[in-house]
């Protein structure tokens, strides 16, 4: 049983022109352990800094062009959370979050919902959910836990390695193109959004090729790091991305 609720507080985006990002309720807020009857707003969850950073990007884009339609359009998916519905909506309003709509459903309707909402990008900390979404044809990436030094800048990392499955899904290309268009509109000097490329195993040639590949998809990279086998852990914790597109499993434990 699926119900979609628009957020009246948020300015609705043009879903045909926006970059639709789906987040899960369980990651935006701390739902667990709370009494059902309480009306206190939930505490922020792991996806909170990401959403705030996306909001800043939207603000900058609108500053440059008040008619801008290429914005982040955030959909909050809540599986098996019907009883929390009112409180979820109230919490969103309490923090003034730019969430366009809420989708309440049961767990097995989840992936169907992603497609129905024409999600361009599904973000989640759970690698298996990310893999499931990818297989269903929705571009998905890992949501990273908040870094020790939080930043207002939205940091999107593409991890590329030569020894991986060849080819990348068409959906990822599409997201890359949309992100690239956003990045271009903001201008090189704007610090609201940073696109990062990380090559873990390969060397200069691999990284160079990846830079040009992403460019051919319409995405200009801001920061590039090539490790060629140097330890990935310390580098990744310094890079502190919000979003990580894993091209391989090199960085996953």
């Amino acid at each position: 049983m699926v119900s979609t609720v628009r957020n009246p507080e948020a300015k609705q985006k043009d879903a045909q022109r926006a970059l639709v990002v789906a987040l899960t309720c369980q990651e935006l807020f701390h739902l667990g352990g709370a009494e059902v009857s309480s009306s206190e707003p939930y505490a922020p969850g792991v996806a909170f800094p990401l959403l705030q950073a996306m909001q800043v990007v939207n603000e900058r884009l609108l500053e440059l062009n008040p008619e801008e339609t290429l914005l982040f359009d955030v959909v909050l998916l809540a599986a098996d959370c019907q009883q929390h519905q009112d409180r979820i909506i109230a919490t969103t309003r309490h923090y003034g979050l730019d969430v366009s709509r809420f989708c309440f459903c049961s767990r097995d309707e989840f992936t169907h919902l992603l497609l129905r909402e024409r999600t361009h990008l599904f973000l989640c900390t759970d690698a298996r959910q990310v893999a499931t979404a990818s297989h269903t044809g929705v571009a998905a990436a890992l949501l990273q836990p908040a870094p020790s030094r939080p930043t207002q800048q939205l940091r999107v990392l593409f991890c590329t390695d030569p020894a991986d499955r060849p080819g990348t899904s068409q959906q990822v290309c599409q997201v890359a193109g949309l992100l690239g268009a956003m990045r271009s509109r903001l201008g090189v000097a704007c610090g609201a959004l940073s696109i990062i490329l990380l090559t873990v195993q390969g060397g200069r040639e691999s990284c160079g090729r990846a830079l040009l590949t992403l460019r051919s998809w319409g995405l200009g990279v801001d920061e590039a790091y090539c490790l060629a086998g140097a330890p990935g852990g310390p580098a990744l914790s310094l890079l502190a991305p919000h979003i990580l597109f894993p091209d391989g499993s090199a960085l996953q434990a």
Binding site: V188, Q201, G203, R204, E223, P231, A235
Partner: protein, 363 residues
Amino acid sequence: LTMSDMKPNEAPEGDENGEEKDWAAAKAFFENLKTNKPRPPKPRYAVTIAVSSRTLFNMVAERKIYEEDGMEKYVAYQVEHENEPLKPGAAFPFVKALMTVNARLRELYPDSEELFDIVLMTNNHAQVGVRLINSINHYDLTIERFCMTGGQSPIGYLKAYMTNLYLSKDSEKVTEAIEEGIAAATMFMPETEIKLSDTQLRVAFDGDAVLFSDESEIIVKQHGLDTFFEHEREFENKPLAQGPLKCFLEALGKLQRKFYAKNERMNCPIRTFLVTARSAASSGARVLKTLRSWGLEIDEALFLAGAPKGPLLEKIKPHIFFDDQMFHIEGAKELGTIAAHVPYGIGQKYHRGKLIEQPAKDK
């Protein structure tokens, strides 16, 4: 004392598994490549030299565009010209010399990871990186690791890449690196060009406030030369404290000993020089004894007793000369030596022997 003991800021405990996995995968990748390209060494065992884009290549004209016309125009210009290789910069001869040493080391020790590892460490935007990569390709430099931070500070990355020496044009970054315990120096392009050796890496170091701490220099500045001479004689047998470049000299010494072990002392492709204003008679002994107490060798120790360093360096022809005093850097540059300023110690508060007036702090 192994090579890995000289790495500043070790990787955190518990990450060894991850480190080993990353390394093994990269090693396999490189070994499977069809080319004869030498694969990069394991960072833990290598002597890692991080060079900035402006020290590796001559980017003076492009820098001007950045300063006068701003970031957008600068990046656009670089992208437009990205298939034109950049000209060599101040660190270029040094990097080529490092590659020469690596080739010799690989011949003698084909399975060793104790090599020079050259990392490009730049603040530049990754779109400019395409031109940098193309330029590296053009000169066939063995640089497989890089950081293009797009404006972020490189200091954290210097540690993540286990850097032993950082060379940059930006004295603020260099100062920050030294404060974090990483040997670093600001590079200067010489005014004329000297033909340098292409078979031997030649590195020259000033003594006080470079290899050694600035404790003796403080005495000169505050109490004058006579006090200094007396002090050095009195404390001749007390080793000086170490300076920011001591560990780099130590790393060079480790690699030199690998050649000696294979009977290559006469043909060693690394040669080190001490070029100090101290005089052999009155204050030189302490320096030599300090080096000995550290178990370090230096191939040639040259005591100038206050004479200018420029003419001597012109004869030595080092690929790089480290000094803490801008006065000596300028003297070296004028006569064609590639000089690198180490912004450390009391010497930074003086210019040509006079204390620099610090502006009064506003309330």
